[in-house]
Symmetry: C2
Subunit: 440 residues, 2 copies
């Protein structure tokens, strides 16, 4: 395990699905490049699977064997590094934990594990002086983990906004381009393999939330508990709101955001963080992110605005990120697992979601637009909210949409103003409201 030797780096791989198969393919296809880059070969010795006999997309290289006993991998003294691609939490954690105990380095793509129970693994890796890398766990092929952990370390990160879930972005893109309703777009995504049979992890924002927790940790060096994160997904968004947002010049995107709150005390950074659908102005690069692509926009006090765009999932894009991590291990890089020197990361100081300030898009269905607009304005004004733009649609029957954009206000004021409209009997059904994002 020392750099001075030109001996191959010996890898144990756990998981032989899409990404694992992609990694096995890349290790073979790019073998010459790998050798030129790091001066040694990477040798896959064992692949941990549940069933030996299942058919696989990728072929094992000569000398590699399938195993079903986790110990056969974690306890093999010849193996230098464990690549964990099985996903899920309990089994993966036990595997990594054992491998660290046995002195292995770790490369993983497991965002759920690192978000929900990562701290103990980072502590153990630090104690054992082992590398724990996870570039593939956020935004697939986009090297945002490395950017935050190394390139941008001299910066104070002011904000970070990402489109981190390709499934949701694909559904929203289809709803935007083709006017599809949510359910139809979801079914299409499922048919094409972009969404799971149970799509909740993606469309309800949990996957993006896991990734955001990792980005917060990298950007601010704090522990932000997963359960404390405000998360709202795209389920049930209507094609009507996507169409109306377009009329204002906006696209609706599922955004994962963290930013420093203004007006905090000097030595304690307060963070606003959450996952939510939001209106993004169509000229911003984030609004241009289509289909299953991912993107991250970082605003930092030296760099200014940086924007990264690339594939967020898929066999080779994800496997390429795993391979980049493996090559860092092969270079015998010093561990820089969290990007911070602190042994214990402090807990984040969290701004409650109701205090967040934002502009809002609000849509109500009304019969008598002029009358409702006057009374609505009254409810808004009573909470100190002023309207910036209004669109009234003409029409008859069940009601027509009345849409407005507000100036900046707090989530609490918005909630209270909308409650007022319900209490006063002004609206028959609750308003739809979404945050409107600034950017560049």
């Amino acid at each position: 395990m020392t750099r001075n030797s030109d001996a191959p780096l010996v890898v144990g791989l756990a998981g032989f699905g899409t990404v694992g198969g992609g990694l096995v393919r890349l290790l073979q296809e790019n073998a010459d490049i790998i050798k030129r880059r790091v001066g040694r070969d990477i040798r896959l010795k064992k692949v941990l699977v549940r069933t030996i006999t299942k058919a696989r997309a990728a072929q094992l290289p000569p000398g590699a064997t399938l195993v079903t006993d986790p110990r056969s991998l974690t306890d093999d003294p010849e193996i230098d590094v464990l690549v964990e691609l099985i996903g899920g939490i309990d089994h993966a954690r036990d595997l990594i934990d054992r491998a660290l105990d046995q002195g292995k380095h770790i490369v993983t793509a497991n965002k759920a594990l690192l978000a929900e129970e990562g701290l103990e693994l980072f502590h153990k890796a630090a104690r054992k002086k082992r590398i724990l890398r996870y570039e593939a766990s956020v935004a697939g092929a986009i090297p945002v983990v490395e950017a935050l952990k190394a390139s941008l370390t001299g910066n104070r990160i002011q904000s970070l906004m990402g489109i981190l879930n390709g499934t949701s972005n694909y559904i929203l893109s289809e709803m935007t381009s083709n006017g599809m309703e949510f359910d139809v777009a979801l079914q299409q995504a499922q048919r094409l393999g972009y969404a799971e049979a149970d799509p909740s992890l993606d469309i309800d924002g949990h996957d993006a939330a896991h990734k955001l927790i990792l980005l917060i940790r990298l950007a601010y060096g704090v522990h932000y508990p997963y359960t404390a994160l405000s998360v709202r997904g795209i389920r049930g968004l209507s094609a009507m709101d996507i169409r109306l947002a377009r009329e204002f010049g906006y696209r609706i995107k599922l955004i994962a955001q963290v930013r420093e709150a203004l007006g905090g005390e000097k030595d304690q950074v307060r963070l606003e963080a959450g996952v939510f659908p939001a209106l993004v102005y169509h000229k911003y690069l984030l609004a241009r992110v289509g289909g299953v692509y991912n993107a991250v926009r970082v605003e930092a006090n030296a760099a200014g605005a940086l924007f990264f765009h690339g594939r967020g999932a898929g066999d080779l894009p994800t496997a390429g990120a795993v391979l980049g991590d493996l090559l860092a291990v092969a270079r015998d890089e010093r561990p820089n697992n969290t990007g911070f020197a602190d042994k214990v990361l402090p807990k984040a100081c969290i701004v409650p979601p109701e205090e967040w300030r934002s502009c809002y898009y609000v849509r109500v269905m009304v019969q008598d637009a002029p009358g409702v607009l006057r009374d609505l304005s009254g409810c808004m004004a009573a909470e100190g909210i002023s309207m910036a733009q209004v669109i009234q649609k003409s029409g008859e029957g069940q009601g027509v949409p009345l849409v407005f954009m507000t100036h900046e206000t707090s989530a609490r004021a918005m909630r209270d103003a909308l409650q007022r409209t319900m209490d006063s009997g002004l609206l028959k059904e609750p308003a739809v409201y979404l945050r409107v994002l600034g950017g560049e």
Copy 2:
């Protein structure tokens, strides 16, 4: 100079201009972040300047002194790392050379030096086992050097396209948005401080060419001699072509490109590389890069297409990249200077520019459009070139533009076909022709 000590990293800075001043500011403003990130302070000890008495934008921190003798910096045993920000070639090379001899690590933003005479410095750094970092030398705040050297190392890089010169991009953006002629836009850029009094380095493509040489080295691990690079700048581009390109749905950008040539022999990668103005389809992210921004698009065999966008110049964006490099030194990272294990990088195998294949935009000024179109088509067809789209403008007097886009052809065929049009007396003045880029 060992990681185990928590002693400050001691820095000698050469050059106290815009970027040097930005670095001094950042070292103070972000001191707490730096300490948290790397567990030690960064202490600026000496700043090498030409004249002690000149007024400076930034104030020196306590304990730092201005010096005018280079040896006072390179030979100071307490200094761990030289930050070279003086620019130019001879003086900077001597300084870095001497500092390496004295066992210092190096951080530089000097693209001209590294492109034209970098190899010997890399060799010496390798012999001396010292870190030589240069993130700020390409695309300012965009961490593309690190991306190529670390994150993407498991990939075969298929192509790389960049907008690497902010001055040129600003001029082209103004010509596009405001219909300005080149000279007017250049003067405006000079007035705003975006262009030098002698703008040749920027507008004739040399600055982008220096950066491209570094990116080629990072992507392919080869030595591509600067003098062998095909370079064409934006001087004299006309507002008319920018306007006509728009009608086809394209923006004209100064592009630095390298790509693997198709059909080369298996174990020798042949490279097409050059700097040239080109038409970029308006829906591509590269076409959206406005003002002084920079961007890089990388196409790689695992990652797919990656796009990076950010500030390419300016005091803090550049200084932030320098600081990121300094923190890597502070972490006592192992040298990974070229991104390749090879001690000596092989020479690039170069595709001669006349063999490049591309689609073309061609504009000629004619009196009698229909007649000329027939004869022009004949000249093109004689070289195997077919037209994809034609725009004929109506008008009288001195002539009207006849514009067409071709299907893919070689630069040689295009040159020969246009020579034919001149030889046959068909055209009075040479055609304007520009490459048309694919991408996404």
